[in-house]
């Protein structure tokens, strides 16, 4: 299926222009070489999306191993050592291998189309940053087969569990994270360079669609924090292999320092995974409400504010490590304050729908589910911000419920919404309506059945990352496991939808959705391989 995406160039659009990217078609290269060496933003976008879908299923299988073991109390299927590797790999793969590359893929496809650019600013770099990913994750997955097993210290890899007490494969884990980090950084540089320099004549910053805005801010966050992650894992590497003691108390280091550094990266990372989602939803809701986005300016400013504040809240992940009272209060206050700009975004989406003309196509369904369920995740986030209460919530399933609500029906649903929204542009066909609806409803039911009971098991006292639990948590866990399998299975429908959509289906016109306004809808569906080689005239009529 991969090889039908995107369509071959159509003659009327591959007009040769000076300085254009390498023309395929002279001598037709082997398809493998074509995909290996492509510098086309649409092809690379597709590669990213296919890669992230693959990783999503691999990470999902790991999650199902975890849920299968947790179906009943007692150890049935896996040993605790392997269980810990599964939870760790699930987290790492989903964060770095599924969600982030999916957003980069969407950016590759849509940012040039939305700003009227012919391609990304640095096409060859673009190819390189993609192909780093399979290397990184191939390496990461291979650690599972190494003696002593793969990483087993959680995706947050707290020292000294991840240094002095780590399996021998940890050096490979660090290497793979380095490679994935370089890929993200290069991708971010490319996106910034594209947005700042390749906008269509007449399009000012303030005319850019919100998806472009949120990605610009996300890219800056990536530039700011990925090097910090690289620094942290380099220190780990040195602690493990060169006898330094950054995080080792025996040599005068401090394990808590690791957590400060990690979360200085980690909290902005959380926003890296949600800001582009805000952008997608801010495109979809106005389209299907047939009404301009309410408070565009506020949205842009709120995004910037959230990004800035994200550097000031990191220690709310560390409320129980024994911070001094003043630090505890500081981080509680800043964390509570970040709820304000986030709330503004939700109010704005609701106000966009108010007095609109609303229809419920699949992208809108996913966007609406995003708004509701992301807000649920936001509420539990607000509860977690209350530091004294966090002494009870911390490291329980309540936290697991919270961040999964933000990341699965949050970030992931936004990605799915984006996919349904732009599939007509990518393939020229509408996705199969019935199947899409089935996919949506089964996903919603599965997600809530999986993660809602986790709130209760957490409050009742179940710690996270345990392969076996006390009997009073059995009901919640059984429900969550059933939900997880339902959710996992229903994602196969998504694959089916994509395959059908690539192969055929109802033809989509250039402007596939009645209320859609941005530049991408001015090029034919499916989008030809080369678009906007002559920059479009941009008329800021809407903004």
């Amino acid at each position: 299926m991969a090889f039908h995406l995107p369509p071959k160039p159509t003659p009327q659009h591959s007009t040769a222009t000076a300085g254009g990217v390498a023309e395929p078609g002279h001598a037709k290269p082997h398809w493998l070489m074509r995909w290996l060496l492509t510098t086309n933003h649409k092809e690379i976008g597709s590669l990213y999306l296919i890669f992230s879908l693959t990783m999503f299923f691999i990470g999902g299988i790991f999650a199902l191993v975890v849920r299968a073991e947790l179906f009943q109390p007692g150890l049935q299927l896996v040993r605790p050592e392997f269980f810990n590797q599964m939870t760790t790999m699930h987290g790492l793969i989903m964060v770095f291998g599924a969600i982030m590359p999916a957003f980069v893929g969407l950016a590759n496809w849509m940012v040039p189309l939305q700003i009227g650019a012919p391609d990304m600013a640095l096409p060859r770099l673009n190819n390189f940053s993609f192909w780093l990913l399979p290397v990184a994750f191939g390496l990461l997955l291979s650690t599972l087969l190494m003696p002593g097993g793969g990483p087993n210290f959680g995706w947050t890899f707290y020292a000294p569990l991840s240094t002095t007490y780590a399996p021998p494969s940890t050096t490979f884990f660090i290497l793979s994270l380095h490679i994935a980090g370089i890929s993200s950084i290069l991708g971010a540089i490319n996106i910034i360079a594209t947005i700042l320099n390749l906008r269509a004549p007449g399009m000012r910053m303030m005319d850019m669609p919100l998806f472009v805005w949120t990605w610009l801010i996300t890219a800056f966050l990536l530039i700011a924090v990925m090097p910090v992650l690289a620094g942290v894992i380099t220190m780990m590497l040195m602690d493990i292999n060169f006898g330094t003691s950054f995080f080792n108390a025996a040599g005068g280091g401090d394990p808590v320092l690791f957590q400060h550094l990690f979360w200085f990266f980690g909290h902005p990372e959380v926003y890296i995974m949600i800001l582009p989602a805000f952008g997608i939803v801010s495109a979809i809701i106005p389209t299907f409400s047939r009404k301009r986005l309410f408070g565009y300016a506020s949205m842009v400013y709120a995004t910037a504010a959230i990004a800035l504040l994200s550097f000031l809240v990191w220690a709310h992940h560390m409320f129980v490590v024994g911070l001094p009272l003043v630090a505890e209060l500081f981080f509680m206050y800043t964390t509570m304050l970040i709820a304000v700009p986030t709330g503004v975004k939700i109010f704005n989406w609701v106000a966009t729908m108010f007095r609109g003309s609303i229809s419920f196509e699949p992208p809108m369904l996913f966007a609406l589910a995003f708004v509701v369920q992301f807000t649920v995740g936001g509420f539990s986030g607000l509860m977690l911000a209350i530091s004294p209460a966090d002494f009870q919530y911390h490291d329980t399933y309540f936290v697991v419920a919270h961040f999964h609500y933000v990341l699965v029906p949050g970030a992931l649903f936004a990605i799915l919404a984006g996919a349904y929204y732009w599939l007509p542009k990518w393939t020229g066909h509408y996705p199969h309506l019935r199947l899409s609806q089935w996919h949506f409803w089964l996903s919603v039911i599965g997600v809530n059945l999986t993660f809602f009971p986790m709130h209760f098991s957490g409050l009742a006292g179940m710690p996270r990352r345990i392969p076996d639990y006390a009997l009073q948590f059995a009901d919640f866990n059984m429900a969550a496991s059933l939900g997880a399998f339902l959710f996992g299975a229903s994602q196969l429908l998504f694959v089916l939808v994509i395959i059908k959509c690539v192969r055929g289906g109802e033809k989509a016109p250039a402007k596939a959705w009645e209320g859609a306004e941005d530049l991408e809808w001015s090029v034919p569906s499916p989008a030809p391989l080369h678009t906007f080689e002559t920059p479009p005239e941009f008329h800021p009529d809407r903004h």
Binding site: M206, S298, Y301, A304, F330
Partner: protein, 57 residues
């Protein structure tokens, strides 16, 4: 500069008028907004820290 600070303050709350934003972006001087952002950010940190210190007493 004052204009920029006001815009940044508005950003912190997440509320801004379209017309103001138009003016902001018409100015075409990103440096001043970045400076204002960092300044307001710093003041914000100091302010919250001060509240925390006072509250901890």
């Amino acid at each position: 500069m004052w204009q920029a600070i006001k815009s940044v303050l508005a950003a912190f709350l997440g509320v801004q008028k379209d017309s103001r934003r138009r003016e902001d972006f018409a100015s075409n001087r990103p440096g001043i907004f970045i400076a204002a952002g960092l300044l307001v950010g710093l003041v914000f940190v100091v302010l919250v820290a001060l509240v925390a210190v006072l509250a901890a007493r």
